[in-house]
Subunit: 188 residues, 2 copies
């Protein structure tokens, strides 16, 4: 029989974050995470495929938010504006859990395995954004290019956001980064 | 005693490409590559750290070419122009071995492990380009952003280049992609 485990996912997540922070990602096992959360390994694997996925459990929600925002933007919205609004919406999502984001980034930066996983997730987001633009009738190569450029902008803004000490606004940093790309690529 | 093995690197490379094409990357072993090349596994490992690296052996030369071109561009050259010239130079490098590039991309697209490795190599190139721009006095976040956007442009142009049937010019496609990014990000 399966016991009812209230909020076991968030208990596992919290336990993992503490252990990754204390002893490093590489040296932490699933057994230790489960024990710290007062749960079984079996429960862990009902929620996460492996110990890396604990750090990326929000990736699907992020992708859904980006895609939905792009697809549902008014028809008159330009492709880059639709994508920028999606990134601003993502900025609000991360803004609501800034402390977690900062701590998570520190763990990822410390592990080449996690940095690789993050690059893969970002590439997936670029593809999803490009597909959302195609749904709006944007043709290639523009759709693919905007997807890639949008992720470049988000990555850069996010890196700055987690490394600034004062409370800053990720959405605002996204908008700034877009303006910098615009200025940098402008015809001489 | 080490026997003199003329051009063993290129024999290993050719053998690997044939085997990866015939039976897939995943199912090919280093032992098979060495045997097909008429060499020993030990010789293989003198040239490549693993069977993935056979497909990325040119990465350092590519990075050196990009960095050198950016650093040595005339002082009056804008950052995005310096980077675009570097990508055009890379385009010439790839253009000289188009058939290899097409075949290599097919092998990479077939393997998630290789697609991941490629993402890591591209991220390394973005960082190297940003560092080269900083050497020219470009400040952040612009340097970091241009590095990322440049790689987005190159990736997109390269994908189109290897999938067009007629002989097209990669450098020209890079220039086109830059113009598309410029148009897409222009203020409304």
């Amino acid at each position: 029989m399966v016991r009812w485990e209230p909020d076991s996912r968030s208990r596992l997540l919290q336990a993992a974050m503490v252990l990754y922070g204390e002893q490093g990602f590489d040296r932490t096992t699933v057994a230790e995470i489960a024990e710290r959360a007062g749960l079984t390994e079996r429960t862990f694997f009902r929620h996460f495929t492996d110990k890396r996925e604990v750090l990326f459990y929000g990736a699907q929600a992020l992708q859904d938010l980006l895609v939905t925002t792009v697809v549902n933007a008014p028809a008159s919205t330009t492709p880059i504006e639709a994508v920028t609004r999606a990134l601003e919406a993502a900025g609000e999502m991360f803004g609501a859990r800034r402390e977690f984001s900062v701590q998570r980034q520190r763990i990822i930066d410390d592990s080449s395995e996690l940095r690789e996983r993050e690059l893969i997730k970002l590439a997936t987001l670029a593809t999803a954004l490009a597909d959302a633009l195609r749904q709006r009738g944007v043709t290639d190569p523009t759709a693919g290019l905007i997807g890639e450029v949008a992720i470049a902008i988000f990555k850069n803004a996010f890196e700055r956001w987690v490394s600034t000490s004062e409370a800053s606004d990720l959405g605002h940093m996204v908008r700034e980064a877009l303006e910098q790309v615009r200025d940098a690529t402008a015809a001489p």
